[in-house]
Symmetry: C2
Subunit: 323 residues, 2 copies
Amino acid sequence: MPRSEKALIERIRLQARRFGPIVKTGIGDDCAVLRTPPDHEVLVTTDFSLEGIHFRREWHPPESVGHRCLTRGLSDIAAMGGDPVAAFLSLALPKAISQRWVDRFTRGLLDLAQAANVTLAGGDTAQSPSGIFADIIVLGFVPRGRAILRSTARPGDRICVTGELGSSAAALDQLLSSRKKKLTPQNYPRHFFPQPRVEVGRALREKKLASAMIDLSDGLSTDLRHICDESGVGAEIFSPALPVGADPDKNRTAALNFALHGGDDYELLFTAPAKKTLPSTIAGIQITEIGVVTRRKGIFLVNSSGRKTKLQAKGWQHFSQGR
Amino acid sequence: MPRSEKALIERIRLQARRFGPIVKTGIGDDCAVLRTPPDHEVLVTTDFSLEGIHFRREWHPPESVGHRCLTRGLSDIAAMGGDPVAAFLSLALPKAISQRWVDRFTRGLLDLAQAANVTLAGGDTAQSPSGIFADIIVLGFVPRGRAILRSTARPGDRICVTGELGSSAAALDQLLSSRKKKLTPQNYPRHFFPQPRVEVGRALREKKLASAMIDLSDGLSTDLRHICDESGVGAEIFSPALPVGADPDKNRTAALNFALHGGDDYELLFTAPAKKTLPSTIAGIQITEIGVVTRRKGIFLVNSSGRKTKLQAKGWQHFSQGR
């Protein structure tokens, strides 16, 4: 690193200095100290962002890496219906990295933190033998007993998603293909600057509309399996109902595959009791009913003729492993 | 990795399954859900343990790596006078690592977690391009307003440490020297299995004996500077009073240097108001008065003749950088 760890911490500390009513003591002590609102529970999530696994420096501008890093954590809090309050960043950097890269990374992360009203309250720094290693921790609160779990879907519940699916994976496919080595981030915001659905998750919790919830980080086929496994249920997905991301370069079959198996969408997948009436949008984000929870185990894709085929979990293994 | 990430998570989940009264939902959902005791604040700390920076596979048995990884986090909670309750482990492993290494690492970490009554409640796993990258997050609670900060030392306060200093660095010096390539961990427990001083930290908080506190992870000369910088004070350290770790292979000067500048002791450094009476031991651990907080800035070492010399911060930069 072209700087001491102390100088790096001090720089991030100055950029991050904004304690809210929750964060009492942030960067600069052994621990951060956070006030807890009465009758609430604490939510904690941690997510790696590793160079070569979750991003590539030649593809992703530093602001995008910082933004995506925090999105991963915020999206997990959203998936519990919680309010994110504080983030912690552990960052290991190789010697050769420029201060400019680090500043742009931090800006991408802090811009999203500010938009989400989250304070960067601590973390750790180290020198990495090679490559950039970031671990983001996000802490949030949820009223006691009101966190929306993966394990509480019931047969008969409708299955819904926010927004649209597959656009992030479609962009990645272009990056991986020989045709393009670079994409303009502004043209592919869902890949480079995905928006965690914190407001939607909070509204679903407040209105008691969701019986179970997960965020779509690994792909629908994999994440739906987590809900089914934890809840001991099965599912049927109506493929014509899927809100497939627009991709002019791709045919419908390819786009459907991205929507079913592509990762990094950071939309919410939730189940809703049949008797609840769902709005078509929440906080400006489209809500789409895509299937139903079944007593029978197994996850099936139902096409427009009603034919059922087993849906394999082919979700995201991150792009180091090819796709 | 010779296993899928899912299998690894499932394996750790089975080994870790022990939810206490605090951890309501652990590994297996988007977030962990933790109950918060009323009138308490949350403490959060994160610490890297990186291969080649914080440990070496040829020197440190996997159990030691896991133990030291969690010690780093527990020690930060101890330094606030808090009660640790939950740990989160983000672990990136290279393809070539054996399941046996991972199991032994996990055992080292979970044995200490059990001893400290801490639940492993979540984390993340990924494949590392090279080397082992671990990030430990520890969450604890402290009664509202009672966290012992770095910034509250006052002129006239006595400066104290727990246990003895320098043994971990002395062991590392042997590893780094050409004389020895391996040390038997049982003979060097302070290096391979350092004990975080959680009970001492808690007792100091309960009895209101400490005005400021930090843990000695980077070395006395560096960590004392943190307290002085944050509190806006100076310090004088009486070198004859330092509880220097016994090291039969070293002369007094070398041992004193390890005690002043060596890292990874995980003892507590605290300041105590002059009017408070300190016991000679707390929870079986020796308490030693080593100096005094001064209004005059700067940190000075005072020898047995009363001569003062400026104490440079030459603490730990981790052994990747030499020492």
